[in-house]
Structure formats: C-alpha cells, structure tokens
C-alpha cells in the first residue's frame, strides 16, 4: 500500500518543518514530512494530477464544461489511483508552449519552406532558362517520375542514370542542393532520403554536367 502523499496543503498552520529546504534530494529529507516513497519508474505511482476539469458551482464535475482551451491532462485524482502521467495528444493547448507569436509564426513559415505538411515545393533552375520553376516533390514517387516531369517542363531529355557514370550520356545532369548546402547528383540516395534533403534543383548543362559525371 502506498503511503499517501502529503503536500502540506492539508495543514492549516504554517508547518515550517515541511518547508525547510536543504539543498539535497527529496529522499534525504525526513520521510515523515514529505511522505514520498522512492519509486522506480516501472512501479505504478500515485501522481496527484490537478483536476483541470471545471466544476459547476455545486462542485460536481461535469464533462460538458471542459472548454476547448483547457489542457488535455487527464484527471487522475478521481477513481484511478494507478493512472500514471499520459503523454499529451498532439492536439495543442492554446498559447502553449509560451513562445511569442512572431517567433511561432516564423517557425510555421520555416516548416512550410522545408516542405512539411502540404506539398514540398522546391525551385528548379535550368542553365540558360530565363526563369525558374517550382515542383512539388511529394507528387512523385520515384526518380523516373520526377525526371520525366522535369524533362517535360523544360523540354529536354536526360537519359539514364547509372551509378558509375551518372547521367553521362546526356547533355544535362540534374543536381540538387542538400541541407548542408552541397550540390549533389540526383539519383544517388534512396528516393525518400532525397526528398527530405533536397532544397532546390538545378539542371546543369554542357561541360559542367559532364564534369560531374566523370568523378
């Protein structure tokens, strides 16, 4: 049977001993003051979770009164002494974590830029073309699909990929800039890894393209 937890809130007088702090771990403090038992994390624990559900004026807890802006923390006080802390659902609490909205908005922006969520648009430039295009990498399932789309977009042909020689048989080499800022040949890494590390595409032409294939 676990000892009941004493938080001092049950005392009406100022229990000075209860508040005496020595800068040491709770286990060292006299156990009659704070009735904790050291518990391993695998044992079931009593955690007094504050009741975050709103009570009606009569003091009865009602389900319907929990409003949207309340937390998702489950109420462990009533009825379930063995409940332990649940990690929260991904549904977020308004205004939590407390980050200034300007900063928060700039994170959302960055996430969009990096292509999380809807679409993963990256710029595509082609040497000699007057303007750039954008493609959504998430639309394609594999390299051949992407390359075909690029061929159609810029009206060129790219030939086949070989690990040894890259796209050596064509005038063009599709390259991409990865998260480290390096320019890589499209096709070397698995597709899934590619779409997450690709920041932009560049279709190289001519000698520069061939040079890459010779490495």
């Amino acid at each position: 049977m676990e000892k009941s937890v004493n938080y001092g809130g049950h005392h009406d007088d100022l229990n000075l001993e209860a508040t005496e702090l020595r800068l040491g771990l709770p286990g060292i403090i006299r156990s009659d003051i704070i009735g904790y038992e050291k518990q391993s994390s695998s044992a079931s624990t009593v955690v007094v979770v504050r009741n975050n559900k709103r009570a009606s004026p009569e003091g009865i807890m009602t389900q319907e009164s929990s409003s949207k802006s309340h937390s998702y923390v489950s109420d462990a006080r009533n009825g379930d002494p063995d409940s332990h802390h649940q990690p929260p659902a991904k549904a977020q609490v308004v205004g939590w974590p407390p980050i200034r909205s300007f900063r928060r908005n700039s994170f959302q922006q960055k996430k969009t830029d990096q292509g999380d969520g809807a679409g993963m648009y990256v710029k595509v430039s082609m040497d000699g073309a007057p303007y750039l295009r954008k493609v959504d990498l998430k639309v394609y399932k594999s390299y051949p699909e992407l390359l075909t789309a690029l061929e159609n977009m810029f009206k060129f042909t790219i030939g086949e990929y070989s690990e040894r020689e890259g796209y050596n048989r064509s005038e063009y080499a599709p390259t991409y800039e990865d998260k480290d800022g390096d320019w890589m040949l499209v096709g070397d890494v698995p597709w899934d890894m590619f779409i997450f590390s690709c920041k932009r595409l560049r279709i190289m032409k001519g000698s520069e393209a061939r040079g890459l294939g010779c490495l």
Partner: protein, 572 residues
C-alpha cells in the same frame, strides 16, 4: 534640505537614473516632488491604461523620452484577442498638441497605426529614437513617414513586430541629408528591400553602430555594407547563404576580419552552414550571440561555432544544440550571464531537444548565470536542486517544460522541491516562470522564500486556492502575476484585495474565478480596472454570477475604466 536652492536639488537628482529612484524621491515632500517633476526627462509607464497622456504631460513638462507598454504579457501567446486595445494614437495626439519636445519613444505590445507614425514623424522636430517591440497595426508606409520626416533620426529599432510589408521603398525615403543614424534594425520585415538604397544609407551614416538586416538582404550586400561600416558593434545578418567557393564569399571573409568592433551578432535567418567559418575570426570578441532564428544551423555546426566564442555573456540559441552542445557552451563560455534556449520544433515530438542534463552542465560551467529562459523536454528535482546550488545569482528563471504538467521523469513526483530550491537559493530572484507538475507546495515555497520576486508566471499548477494565497501573502514585492489553467478561485482572488493596488496587474484565465468574484472585487476596489474578456456569446445571454470567467485582467489605474475597450471586454 530646505536651504538648498532648487538648482542644487536638481543637480543631485540628475545622478538618479533609475525610474524607481526618481519615483521615490518625488514622494519625499512637495518641494522635492516639484523639483523632480520639472527636471524629469525619461518616464516609464508599464501599463498605458494606468494613467492618461494628459496627466503625464501636466506632471512632466520636460519629458523627452517615453516608454509605454500596452497589452498584457500573455498577449504574446495569443491569449488576448485582436482589438483588445493598447493604442498609441491617443498618446501621440496628446503629446503632439502639447509643447513636449519628444525625442524618444519606446513601445511594447502596443497597436501602432501608420497614421500614428505619420503624426509622430511630423510633430517633434528633434525626434531621435523609435523602438517598437512586439507591436502591430502598421505597415512599411508608416516607416516611410518616419524615414522621410525625422531629420535627426538616430535609432529605428523594430523587434519582432508584425508589419505589413507594402514595399521596400521606405528605405529610400531617408533623405540624402540624413546622416545621423546610429542604429537600424529591420530584421522582422518580411518583404524585399531596396538594396542599393540600403548601401547608400549605410555609406552616409558614419555613426552607424548597430545594423540588423532582414531576410531579403543577401550575402553580397552584407559584404558591401561591412566594407562601409567596419566600426559596427552590433550586426544582424540577413540571408547568409552562398557558395563557399565563390569570390563573394572570399571577399566577405576578408572584410569581416576588419570588423573588430562587433560584439553582438544575430540573424542568420537563412544560412548555409558551410559559410559559417567566415565569422569565426570575430567570434572571440563576441559578448552576445543570438542564433535563435537560425533554424538552418544544425547541432554540430552550432557547436563548432560556439567553441570560438569564449567571451560570450549572452547566448540565445535553439534546442537543436542538444545537451551535448550545452556542455560545450558550459566549457567554453565561462562568462555567460544570460542564456535562452528556444524550441526548434515546438509542436513536434522533439527528439533533438534539451533536457535537465544540459541545464546542469551549464550551471557548472557558467557560475555567473543570472538570466535563464529554458524550453526543455523534461526536468528533474535533482537537477533543479543542483542548479540552485551552483547558480545562486539568478535574477530571472524561466523554465518551460514543453509538456506543461510533466512530473520529474525519474521519480514521477511533482517539481515542487526543485523550484523550491531555486527560490530558496536565489535570494535576488525577481522573475520566475514555472512549469511541470506542481502542487500547492511550490507556492508555499515561493511565498516563503522569494522575497524579491516581482513577476510570476504560472500555468497548469496547484491544487487549491491555497496556492495563490501563499503567493499573494508572501511575495511582498510582487508586481505582476499571471496565471492560466489553475484551480484558483474567488476565495483566493478576494482574500487580500488591497494587494492589487500594490501591483501593476493580475491576469487569470481558465481558472475557477466566477463573475460574482470579479464583480465583488471591482465594487470594493474602485481604483482597479477589472476587465473580463468574453470571446463567446454565451456570456451575454446568460451572464450569471456563478458562471466561471474565462479571462480576467485587472490592473491599478488612476483614470478609471478605459473608453476604448471593445465589445468583448467588460469593465466591471
């Protein structure tokens, strides 16, 4: 002291720079009050609704520098609806009509319109300094007016404002005759900038010491600007992306070597990590580094950079630095006084984040640490106790555990003892933010030990009214208390109504306070504005006294209920 002429008193008061000292002095006697008010040039108003512009002008005719704060702090986190208030327009209008020769205006969390900026720019011939922090409501057109009309402008500092970007031409509005700029910060602007105008502006501003660019300014321009302004002390880069093998990058490397005065570095809003080595040579001189918007720099790159920064006193960083990275900070930056670790993935699962281990490492390596803002995945009592022992000098301690009611993961206990150790050890603590699983006990500790505490932020904590009572009874110097999602109700609210006149403000949202409690308080305390924010229509239909109040904000004031409150704000 009666036999000193006023000029002598005034001369003595000149040495008093802090607002509190001057406020105290003015209370001594009517003679001192009079001398003080005529000689006062700088006024700080922490709540723009506590006083009216007319009263301000009457009392301080010599006013030159005004600081105003508007919305409550929790407005930063979207808890206050748009249109709540905090308008600067009435202030500027009143000042413009008066004979006040305003030179400096600093605003935080206020609504600023283009009209306000235009009026400001035309009304004060000697206007020198405009600082806007977390403000909104204006566009680059307003900035254009400031640029065009303030002939002696020295500082234009825009920090984290939501600004509608109409075009980059505002920079071109600085006339050629404007050569007085010392500080220009437009990092928060989202739109394009006329780069040529920017370069010309820098070229004709020999006194420029602080420059923070926005994302639209590329590395090439940065290099050209640094050539013109090698005496910069504070630099915020814009986009820091280039091919490290390029000539531009090499030019930048050489140029930076000349910038030996740079002490504050920030920006890197877009960054190619392979270009970072260019700044290594100046890292040794840095005392302040803000990489909290540099999401493009990953942990290992951050660490490489930090190793060069031995003299850092202030560091703002993202949690992708990890605990290991914080260990490097701890071993490198022994002079560190202020640390802020922001979450790089606030809504995600957070594998990259920091834990209690990082904080403990910092506390060992950085004994001068006095200000902390730390977003982390978890915290333990043991760690907090260790930190309290190692760093007894905390003035500001703000801990945010991303899961707000998470207990100590090792013991599964609340974090009462950990925070208790902090308040007991840090006798100079003025600001505290709590998180994690917390019971009434932590408030008992705070009330007992946090004697210098001025600002307390609480969320999802406590068990009963006792928690709030401990704080209200114990913290004699409390000025701002903000509470959300705690089970504190009318009993706590009404136990010591006089206390609120000693404080600037109290915010309570999603607590147990009812309409009756708020009405009662408002009736008893006429010099408090007790405002209820209703965002749902239900309140109107059945505004029963027993109904719980979603958001309450109360503050002391000398001017009664405000007249600009929107429909959804009720002043009781």
């Amino acid at each position: 002291m009666n036999y000193f002429p006023d000029e002598v008193l005034e001369h003595v008061f000149d040495f008093l720079t802090s607002h509190r000292d001057r406020n105290a002095v003015s209370l001594v006697c009517s003679l001192w009050y009079r001398v003080e008010r005529f000689s006062r040039q700088r006024v700080f108003i922490g709540n723009c609704y506590a006083i009216s512009p007319e009263k301000l002008i009457t009392r301080f005719p010599g006013l030159k520098s005004l600081t105003l704060k508007g919305k409550p702090h929790f407005a930063d986190f979207n808890l206050v609806p748009y249109d709540w208030g905090g308008y600067v327009q009435p202030w500027i209008e009143a000042l413009a009509k008066s004979r006040i020769g305003l030179e400096e205006l600093r605003l935080k969390r206020m609504v600023v319109s283009d009209d306000s900026l235009e009026l400001l720019s035309r009304s004060f011939a000697n206007f020198k300094t405009l600082v806007l922090v977390s403000c909104e409501g204006f566009t680059t057109d307003g900035l254009a007016a400031i640029a065009a009309n303030c002939r002696f402008l020295r500082e234009l500092d825009l920090q984290e404002n939501e600004i509608d970007d109409h075009s980059g031409h505002w920079l071109s509005c600085f006339p050629d005759s404007c050569t007085s700029l010392t500080s220009l910060n437009f990092a928060c602007l989202k739109g394009e900038i006329n780069l040529a105008s920017l370069e010309r502006l820098v070229a004709r501003s020999p006194n420029l010491r602080s420059l923070r660019l926005n994302r639209a300014v590329p590395l090439e321009t940065l290099q050209k600007i640094l050539m013109r302004a090698p005496l910069l002390v504070d630099l915020g880069t814009g986009s820091y992306v280039h091919d490290p093998d390029s000539e531009t990058y090499n030019k930048l490397k050489t140029t930076i070597l000349k910038c030996k005065s740079i002490r504050n570095l920030s920006g890197f809003l877009e960054v190619a990590p392979r270009c970072l080595p260019a700044i290594f040579p100046i890292c040794l001189n840095l005392t302040s580094l803000n990489l909290s918007y540099a999401a493009g720099i990953h942990g290992s790159e951050l660490i490489k950079l930090i190793r060069h920064c031995a003299k850092l006193q202030r560091l703002w960083i993202l949690d992708c630095i990890g605990d290991k990275g914080l260990e490097v900070v701890a071993s490198t930056c022994n002079e560190l006084q202020e640390l802020r670790v922001f979450p790089s993935d606030p809504f995600g699962v957070g594998h990259d984040a920091v834990t209690e281990n990082g904080l403990v490492a910092i506390s060992i390596g950085c004994p001068k640490l006095h200000s902390l803002l730390y977003f982390c995945q978890q915290m333990t009592n043991a760690a907090l106790i260790t930190v309290a022992r190692n760093c007894p000098n905390f003035i500001r301690f703000r801990l945010c555990i991303l899961d707000p009611t998470r207990p100590d993961p090792v013991t599964m206990k609340p974090l009462d003892d950990g925070f208790g150790a902090i308040v007991q050890s840090c006798k100079l603590l003025r600001r505290l933010s709590l998180s994690g699983l917390l019971t009434d006990q932590v408030f008992l500790y705070i009330g007992m030990y946090a004697e210098q505490l001025e600002m307390l932020s609480v969320a999802f904590a406590g068990d009963s009214d006792k928690g709030m009572l401990y704080v209200l009874n114990g913290c004699k110097k409390l000025r701002k208390l903000e509470i959300r999602d705690c089970p504190f109700g009318n009993m706590a609210l009404l136990s010591d109504v006089g206390k609120y006149e000693t404080m600037r403000s109290l915010w309570m949202s999603s607590c147990e306070v009812t309409l009756w409690g708020c009405k009662t308080l408002a009736k008893v305390m006429p010099r408090l504005n007790v405002e209820i924010i209703n965002e749902h229509d239900q309140m109107e239909i059945c505004a029963e006294d027993g109904q719980r109040v979603e958001k309450m904000y109360l503050y002391r004031t000398l001017v009664g209920p405000r007249k600009d409150a929107p429909e959804f704000v009720w002043n009781l």
